[in-house]
Subunit: 318 residues, 2 copies
């Protein structure tokens, strides 16, 4: 029995999954990210938590064929360089600190890269030669499997597909650019759109406000509203979906992948965002008869990135 461990570090939770070589999840664990402290104490505390989790399975780090860690943010040389959702982790030498704490090598990878790899090996992307993963979370992340390999770019900093500008004079993005996909199709952007539409009393605002009953207009609530036929919620997803469709068309034209895998909370809005995205993309793909367009939702649930990290830790080192 060959086991590997995958860890997925997000702004709120850290998720661990113990993976059998055949792909089964043998055990899972979750910790609050904040409970791991700040700065240089983080790697040691995380190592302790992992050791305790492994001990509960009657295992130690030495029983594993690999440990992979997926983290939000730009990862360079084993450090979390910048991560808007993990401000206390910036500049942290996470890979080396964790390696010391566990007494073994650790692989550190961007979380959406790991997610793409997981979905490609065991989930919605199985069998694809080239695949684009878009994670529509608070922001929008990207991952690329190209010609049967995870593509990391020359420094390991790609694929920040959420920061593709599709509207050069469009909405300001937190990254400093204008018109990024993230500024239209991320959960933060969708909520801002809804708040602005409600504040300006756009068509359907009163009806949507009654439906929300004081709740925040986040994508989850807007999805419920769209299902109930609230026209403003439908229009907000349509706008986000069309922006997504432009980005999808750009990626089809530029990379000619077999398929797209969508993940992240916003993707749960399903057809409300997918149908406008497909419609917009089809109108923009060069020679739609020849260029493939296949979009699937993730298949591994919330464990995609941790599973991907566990799988990457089994691979020969790049």
């Amino acid at each position: 029995m060959s086991l590997s461990l995958g860890i997925d570090i997000g702004g709120t939770n850290v998720k661990a999954v113990l993976l059998h070589s055949a792909g089964q999840r043998l055990a899972r664990r979750r910790w609050k990210t904040a409970a791991l402290g700040e700065g240089s104490e983080i790697p040691g505390r995380l190592a302790d938590a992992i050791i305790e989790f492994l001990a509960s399975q009657k295992l130690g780090p030495g029983n594993l064929v690999g440990v992979g860690v997926a983290s939000a943010g730009l990862i360079l040389n084993g450090e979390v360089k910048t991560s808007p959702n993990l401000p206390h982790w910036e500049g942290l030498k996470l890979r080396d600190g964790l390696s010391r704490g566990l007494g073994r090598r650790v692989l550190l990878e961007n979380d959406v890269n790991a997610l793409a790899f997981g979905e490609w090996k065991l989930g919605a992307g199985k069998g694809a030669s080239s695949m684009v993963c878009l994670a529509l979370g608070t922001g929008v992340g990207g991952g690329l499997v190209l010609d049967g390999r995870l593509f990391r770019g020359s420094q390991g900093l790609g694929a920040e597909l959420g920061h593709m500008s599709i509207d050069l004079k469009g909405r300001p993005c937190l990254c400093g650019s204008l018109g990024c996909l993230e500024a239209y199709a991320g959960a933060r952007a969708i909520r801002l759109s809804a708040e602005s539409a409600l504040a300006h009393g756009e068509a359907g605002a009163a009806s949507l406000r009654r439906f929300l009953g004081g709740k925040d207009p986040d994508p989850e609530q807007l999805h419920l509203a769209a299902k109930s036929g609230k026209s403003l919620a439908i229009r907000i997803f349509d706008e986000a979906g069309r922006a997504l469709g432009v980005a999808v068309a750009n990626l089809v034209n530029g990379l000619n992948p077999d398929l797209f895998v969508l993940a992240g909370g916003v993707s749960r809005a399903g057809r409300w965002i997918l149908e406008p995205a497909l419609d917009e993309a089809r109108n923009r793909i060069m020679n739609p008869r020849q260029q493939k367009l296949k979009i699937r939702l993730r298949a591994l649930g919330d464990d995609g990135a941790s599973i991907g990290a566990a799988l990457l830790a089994r691979e020969p080192r790049p």
Copy 2:
């Protein structure tokens, strides 16, 4: 002495280069594309022209280790599927027809893919792990070398980087989409911009019109005008360059390449287009300290695609 032959088929000329394994160009030849006729007669006529060229070098097709053909347009299964600049070639089974005429296998590749490969192996991209090639010709083509390999996409249809929309409600593109890079930074688009600015009497129009003296405002003339300080010409290149910069930033964020190689007639405008492109790109790249931005002009002159085709014909078949 190991020789390969590269052919580059463009809308006006067909170029051939006989390449030594060490990379020297031993002989070159040019034919008018129109002289090769139309439809099914093309492959046979091209084969005859090649055989005659080889005979002038005291060679036959059997003396070559490979024959590679680069063609404009979408290439699928050895056919030219669509090519705005080669309308008579559409649907042509070019690879198989040429193979029959020459009595040997032939490799058929998109021209900008071949150009990217040529510049990567012997030109401006030597030593790069990942490289983006943008050919700013009449339209805008793209080629990608990723992780040390020419990337063709799952069907071999990538990388149509000229059809990346950077302005979702922007200028109409011949491909049917809106706001494509090609609609801003291709020679056709730049000339249209200049014609429109002249017709509308924009600031500097009278001075530019006097400078042109009846000549068409194509990128070559506009380059001369910019060098002479004509403000409207400078502004037109600035606009094209800024659109290019948005696309470059998208590609840096999405693919994290080592460098960009610019080719095509528009790239001859040099700093008039490069400086605004760099300025715009730097403002849009995530973490410019970490993401590399290096843009070079092509090094192989007009022979990049034919050299790339000759080199690809030496590679193991994909």
